[in-house]
């Protein structure tokens, strides 16, 4: 019986070999070849030049992830405390934005954040900009919000927040209430219940939330191009530029992708290890 069922895995294993593993092998091959096909390490020897881009991407993605967690966790927690009707509506409302393409939502942010955009027009009409100028002695026509790293982080938080909320919520909602009651009975106050019981038990949700926000944030290129103005590239821009953008060099692009992939995977593995240990410690 067992063995029979395991045969179901065979088609997908073949599929994975073809469309998951083979493409990644292609990236590795490209990363180690020169433009005319020979083996080379040149693509990696210049990687130091791009350290700034790596640093910037990981920094922005990290900030975005932290903000998502800071917003997402309380929201998930509060949602789980509400009645089932409210929860149902809230879930729908969180999933729904994903149905409007993220490029369009990001574009919408452009018209909000532009120098002459909605927010600045609002600030101007309520006199906030002139007030600011009077207080700080500046001569601003507008608050520069577009084309800044802040705008890029905003775009990341905005687009990936649901990916933080959903997994955390789905873990919290399944928490065994008797554990919380037990902790209460044993004399824990609500802060302690949260810190010693709820938080550790929701760790798996937090971990997958972090992964689902951090990975796309590191590698996005549309968001940074639209909100960041393209003057300060992040990894996604750099890779896209080498493949389909203005500086055709797929070998270098593959090498950068490979390095990024390795760093991300190492981060995730370390984090998951750390997470697993934590979980077990609590369970014991």
């Amino acid at each position: 019986m067992k063995n029979k069922l395991s045969r179901f895995a065979i088609p997908y294993v073949i599929w994975m070999a073809l469309f998951v593993v083979a493409p990644i092998i292609m990236v590795v091959v490209y990363a180690f070849s020169s433009a005319d096909g020979g083996f080379t390490l040149d693509n990696f020897s210049n990687m130091g030049t791009y350290a700034v881009v790596f640093g910037r991407s990981f920094k922005l993605a990290f900030i975005a992830t932290v903000i998502c967690l800071a917003i997402g966790y309380p929201v998930s927690y509060m949602m789980s405390k509400e009645g089932p009707g409210f929860q149902r509506i809230a879930m729908v409302l969180i999933m729904l934005p994903m149905w409007i393409n993220f490029l369009l939502r990001t574009y919408s942010w452009m018209s909000i954040l532009e120098n002459n955009g909605l927010l600045n027009q609002l600030f101007r009409s309520i006199g906030l900009i002139s007030l600011y100028n009077r207080v700080f002695g500046t001569e601003l026509q507008f608050f520069p919000m577009m084309n800044t790293q802040g705008a890029v982080v905003l775009g990341m938080v905005y687009n990936y927040l649901p990916f933080m909320i959903l997994p955390i919520y789905s873990v919290i909602i399944k928490l065994d209430n008797s554990l919380i009651e037990a902790a209460r009975d044993l004399g824990a106050n609500s802060i302690n219940v949260f810190r010693r019981v709820i938080l550790p038990l929701s760790f798996p949700g937090i971990l997958s939330g972090i992964t689902m926000v951090f990975v796309p944030s590191v590698s996005t290129f549309a968001i940074s191009k639209m909100l960041g103005g393209g003057t300060e590239m992040i990894l996604g821009d750099l890779i896209e530029q080498q493949f389909l953008g203005g500086a055709y060099n797929p070998q270098l692009g593959a090498a950068i992708s490979l390095v990024m992939m390795v760093i991300v995977v190492v981060c995730m593995v370390v984090m998951n290890r750390f997470g697993e240990g934590e979980e077990q410690a609590v369970m014991l």
Binding site: V13, V53, F102, E114, L238, Q241
Partner: protein, 667 residues
């Protein structure tokens, strides 16, 4: 204290939802706007909804998106469910290995997945061509196609690949929660394992399957990056269409289609949830009636021996429908002649496409690339598989040099006669074997006269710190470097490394000092028209388009001289639709099409008659004479052209230097 907490919680949640919905609300509101702005409200209208349904480009991409998402979800849900069951039945060690591999697409950045797939497909197509040629050579019973390209098939494969992990992820926990003894018990009671699967496993994991399918569908619809790398030139998802538009102005038609999609999904989710809620309430009252009687009857029918046939019949007919749908789809696209065209954004009067389609019955897949360099990347990587492209002079030389263009059969393009002789046999194609000119113009500086008081006359404005934060620079290496080279007084075509590095340094310093607000291509429309930036270097024709929307803009060809360019249509080597491509080129080169096009894109046509007749055409169309100044900006007179230099193709070594410097500038 408790009360305060509660209020705080609610306020916080409401704020988060406000944050999530503010931009969406904006989109919805402006889909009813009369004007085409996303900022200025000019009255209520349903125009954009009406226009939407006649916009073939958008409707086609909506159709592609829905089709690929539905098919990918169906396949992924089916395959993923079985894979999850298979994984579950494996021994721990092999299961862990496979689960890790399964997680790769989720752990991996989308861009790496997309790039990897693109590289893989292109490599596979290369191998396939060799194989097919060999195979067709040794026998003549079956004729294999020798040329495979990225398209709907690869798009579908990519979507299935990134969807399956989500299905597995949501089915696996349900399998783990399932009591293992259930299956054994069922089999002890005489079930075959097939029956055990249908009657025991499936009902247990159904919620997981449904949520997996939903997630997969949502991911498919929202995906952009992976599609971008795997869809090729013939199919375009809504996300890709939108991405093409976000570079210039997004037409409010997109707002309209998004609003429609949004409310459809909202409605669906509401229905599903109301039903679930009702079922749950019913379930609480009388736990037995969880399934409706019809379902009960159906499952009873399915469990009888005859039911087996019903089941198999059902599965088989579903499979047939699926295959038929795919066949129909590919058949439908094959039946009609097509031509795949790639040009620049805002570079054609789109009614010409419709007109051509009506006249000839050839469907035009019209796509845009961002710059010559980006087009080159698209062609080289195999991601762009076009018939006709419209590169600029220097890029044409490079494509000819690399043997990427097909010689044209000019007997199929009689309208080539109409091209002004001064635009024939230009240096990029000295014997005129490959190209038919499309449009020409000059590069200059566009500035907003309300923001910049003194008239701008020199390229120095592009590097001047007094304009810090207000300048838009080209996002392509050749044009950006040209602004610096011109300012320094060097030739646009210099190969001297010292001069190039000096120009690069000028750009890099200006960037470091915050002169540039952003590096743009067609985003410049939105930024200059809206008064979001004061100065930008761009093309004369596009300036005139912007002028229609913002009268405060001025254009100057700086005193140091500038670049004049010619964009010409050419056919790519081994293009599958060469005859259609030549028909298209001939159509566009005609005087009528040239006039209509000129009127729309504001670039000068190389068609002699059209260029001469344009002022009269304008007067007839708009009942007012064409401002001679505007005509001179569009079709620069000889004394301006004398100051300008055309780009020539650079030697490979210099091109590499350009790429390196350009990448460095971006950092």
């Amino acid at each position: 204290m408790k009360k305060g907490n509660f209020v705080f919680n609610r306020v916080f949640t409401v704020l988060v939802f406000l944050f999530l919905y503010a931009p969406i609300l904006l989109l919805i509101v402006f889909s009813f706007n009369k004007g085409n702005s996303n900022i200025v409200w000019s009255g209520f209208s349903l125009d954009w909804y009406r226009k939407l349904f006649s916009d073939r480009l958008i409707m086609q991409s909506v159709y592609t998106t829905l089709l690929v998402s539905l098919l990918a979800t169906a396949i992924a849900t089916f395959a993923g469910t079985f894979a999850a069951i298979g994984f579950h039945a494996l021994r721990r060690r092999s299961r862990n290995v496979l689960t890790t591999v399964n997680n790769i697409p989720m752990m991996n950045a989308d861009i790496v997945t997309g790039v990897a797939m693109c590289l893989f497909f292109v490599a596979f197509f290369g191998l396939w061509t060799d194989f097919a040629v060999w195979f067709n050579g040794i026998q003549d019973v079956i004729e294999l196609p020798t040329r495979l390209t990225l398209g709907f098939g690869t798009l579908l494969i990519a979507h299935v690949s990134f969807n399956i992990p989500y299905v597995i992820l949501s089915v696996s926990p349900k399998l783990r929660q399932m009591d293992k003894n259930l299956v054994d018990a069922a089999m002890d009671l005489g079930c075959t394992w097939m029956q055990a699967f249908w009657k025991v496993i499936l009902p247990e994991i159904k919620p997981g399957i449904i949520s997996g399918a939903l997630t997969a569908f949502t991911m498919s619809v929202d995906d952009f990056i992976i599609s971008y790398f795997t869809a090729g030139s013939s199919s375009s998802t809504l996300a890709m269409t939108i991405y093409g538009m976000t570079k210039k102005r997004v037409t409010p038609e997109i707002n309209a289609i998004s609003t429609l999609l949004f409310f459809t999904v909202l409605l669906l989710l509401v229905i599903v949830n109301v039903r679930e809620a009702r079922l749950e309430r019913l379930g609480k009252q009388q736990p037995a009636v969880r399934r409706s009687p019809t379902v009960e009857k159906l499952s009873a029918a399915l469990s009888t021996p005859r039911g087996k046939w019903v089941r198999w019949g059902g599965t088989a007919s579903l499979a047939c429908i699926f295959v038929a749908a795919v066949a129909l789809l590919t058949g439908a696209t094959n039946a009609q002649p097509v031509v795949n065209v790639c040009s620049w954004g805002e570079y054609i009067d789109e009614s010409l496409i419709t007109q051509f389609e009506e006249e000839t019955g050839i469907i035009v897949n019209y796509q845009t690339a961002e710059s010559n360099e980006a087009l080159y990347s698209l062609l080289k990587s195999g991601a762009g598989d076009y018939d006709v492209v419209t590169p600029s002079d220097y890029m044409i030389s490079q494509l000819i040099e690399e043997d990427m263009l097909e010689e044209l059969d000019y007997s199929n393009i009689p309208n080539f006669q109409l091209i002004d002789d001064r635009f024939k046999n230009l240096p990029y194609d000295p014997e005129n074997k490959y190209t038919v000119p499309y449009a020409w113009g000059t590069v200059g500086i566009i500035y907003n006269t309300t923001m910049i008081e003194e008239p701008i006359t020199s390229w120095s404005a592009m590097f001047d710190t007094q304009y810090a934060g207000n300048v838009l620079m080209f996002r392509n290496s050749r044009d950006a470097m040209a602004t610096a080279l011109l300012y320094l007084g060097y030739s646009l075509n210099t190969t001297d490394e010292g001069e190039l590095r000096e120009a690069f340094q000028l750009l890099a310093d200006a960037k470091k000092n915050g002169v540039y607000q952003s590096f743009v291509m067609d985003e410049i429309y939105q930024k200059l028209e809206g008064g979001n930036a004061a100065i930008g270097a761009y093309y004369a024709g596009d300036y005139l388009t912007m002028l229609e929307n913002n009268e405060d803009l001025a254009f100057v060809v700086p005193e140091e001289g500038s670049n004049w360019f010619m964009d010409a249509m050419c056919v790519l080597k081994d293009a599958p639709h060469k005859a259609e491509a030549e028909a298209w080129i001939n159509f566009i080169a005609s005087t009528d099409a040239s006039l209509a096009n000129m009127d729309y894109i504001w670039y000068a046509s190389p068609n002699k008659e059209a260029l001469e007749q344009y002022p009269a055409y304008y007067e007839e169309e708009y009942d007012e004479p064409l401002d001679p100044e505007i005509y001179e900006i569009m079709a620069a007179p000889a004394e301006v052209l004398d100051q300008c230099e055309a780009y020539l193709v650079l030697p490979a070594e210099t091109r590499r230097l350009y790429n390196t410097l350009w990448t460095e500038l971006g950092i």
